[in-house]
């Protein structure tokens, strides 16, 4: 029972590996940090784990089975820029219910206000939009969440609030979380363990 990446390798230019022979494993309920300098492949690794891109080498398995190509993916990703992750032409009610209809408790826990639902995405701030992205990632079928720089562009107070709620919700459902960030203090505070990608790419393994 875990999200496993085995022997993962990825390059944009042939044989110029960004990382290679990388192993990573996240158990349900675990909070794992992923850190490293800009351009070291943090987001790429996140996208591979979430099934958005295919690795050149290696496999990703969820609880023993390969990532499903069709249907709902149990590994969901939350992006850094919520305004790019939401269709600018939709109204927020549609955005909120695209993956499933969230319960009132979930909506209230994330402090999503009813008056926002009739608006377009440009009429909300980044922090407000990110709450919607979190809500729709928390589908009942979600087992793992990759949070890629989820709160980097938000102010400190909003960051703290969102992480507090997010961690509580994930813990309650036993969801495994990977937090991608280069803020060491944030990772130290939130994660059970932290992987530094530049160390791993040299050695080739991160358990």
């Amino acid at each position: 029972m875990s999200l496993k990446g085995e022997g993962l390798g990825f390059y944009y230019k042939k044989d110029k590996w960004i990382f290679n022979k990388l192993d990573i494993k996240i158990s349900p309920g675990e909070v794992k940090g992923l850190s490293g300098y800009s351009g070291c492949g943090k987001t790429t690794l996140g996208k591979i784990l979430a099934g958005f891109i295919e690795p050149q080498a290696g496999t990703v398995t969820v609880d023993g089975a390969p990532l499903p190509r069709k249907g709902f993916r149990p590994v969901q990703m939350i992006y850094q820029h919520p305004e790019k992750a939401i269709d600018p032409r939709w109204r927020m009610r549609q955005v909120l219910t695209e993956s499933f209809t969230p319960s009132r408790e979930l909506v209230e826990a994330l402090e999503i206000r009813g008056e926002w639902l009739g608006r377009h995405p440009i009429e909300l701030s980044g922090g407000e939009l990110q709450r919607f992205c979190i809500a729709r990632a928390l589908n009942p079928a979600t087992r793992y969440i990759i949070a890629d720089e989820m709160t980097t562009m938000l102010d400190a107070i909003t960051q703290a609030k969102i992480w507090h709620v997010f961690k509580k919700l994930c813990a309650a459902r036993n969801i495994g979380v990977v937090i991608v960030s280069h803020e060491a203090s944030l990772l130290k505070r939130l994660c059970d363990s932290v992987i530094y990608l530049e160390d791993v790419t040299a050695k080739g393994s991160a358990a």
Binding site: A50, R73, K84, A85, R89, E98, H120, R136
Partner: protein, 278 residues
């Protein structure tokens, strides 16, 4: 109760503009049915009369009432224009989206056909089609729609190729949404402005081409009250000072095209999130 036009927001202004334009189109439509066809018959006693109370748009050199001819002509032209524009837009959407999502081979074939149609002179091709279909409404509709889809298909292909990489599209498919759901809810709204604009620019083309084809003898027969027929006939009489033959039909045609334009412009403002609440 009535606010000054400047103080209204986009929604209120759009409502008023849409009501005006809609009322005009409806009035033409109703008039075209209520005026009796008897007014289209030649009548030697009332030849070449200027505008008067009994014949507001005057009469032509055969004594036919120009109001009746204009209204019936506009109805026919509107019908031809709308149907031809809709068909050409549908062809563009199918080929444009198909070209972008169905892979390289399909893309190559569709792009080749699109280039072929862009390179072909419209008028010649339409004459061929009209001749094949035996002239009349069908020939003009098929001719116009077959020649006017290629530019929009190219634009849509480019838009969809760009949209394919958008994060929200990939997220939607990670939610397990079907290709149809994504096409209908993400892609179509994205390309809708292009579709509306193209629809409206094809519309006057259809009317002009209809007139051109008719003028060359491949379209409607001369007794059909189409706006193109009326205008090309009136050309011969302008120099003799019979201004009403060309002024009223021409002016109404411009008005109708403008109403279409204003309806679509307001719709566009409402569809764009940036301006919806202005």
């Amino acid at each position: 109760m009535f606010k000054k036009l400047k103080n209204m927001n986009a929604r209120e202004r759009m409502l008023i503009a849409a009501i005006f334009s809609g009322a005009l189109l409806l009035a033409i439509f109703v008039l075209s049915f209520t005026i009796s066809d008897g007014n289209l018959r030649a009548n030697a006693r009332i030849m070449d009369q200027g505008p008067s109370f009994s014949h507001p748009f005057g009469t032509d050199w055969l004594g036919r009432d120009m109001l009746a001819r204009t209204m019936k002509g506009l109805r026919l032209s509107l019908m031809v224009g709308v149907v031809a524009s809709i068909i050409s837009v549908i062809i563009s959407v199918i080929l444009g989206v198909g070209s972008a999502v169905l892979g390289k081979t399909v893309d190559n074939v569709i792009s080749w056909v699109t280039d072929l149609f862009i390179g072909m002179p419209h008028l010649i091709f339409m004459m061929l089609v009209c001749f094949m279909m035996g002239g009349g409404v069908k020939g003009i509709i098929v001719g116009v729609s077959l020649t006017h889809w290629s530019l929009l298909a190219r634009v849509i292909r480019a838009e969809v190729l760009q949209l394919k990489n958008a994060e929200y599209m990939q997220i939607s498919s990670s939610f397990g949404k079907s290709l149809w759901f994504i096409a209908w809810h993400h892609v179509i709204p994205y390309i809708m402005p292009q579709i509306i604009i193209r629809f409206l620019s094809v519309f006057p083309h259809a009317i002009v081409h209809e007139a051109a084809i008719t003028f060359l003898g491949f379209g409607f027969s001369p007794q059909t009250p189409a706006i193109g027929v009326i205008l090309s006939e009136a050309m011969a009489h302008i120099s003799t000072g019979k201004w009403w033959l060309v002024f009223f039909p021409g002016f109404l045609l411009v008005l109708v095209a403008k109403s279409f334009d204003s309806i679509s412009e307001q719709a566009h403002i409402l569809l764009e999130p940036v301006s919806a609440n202005e």
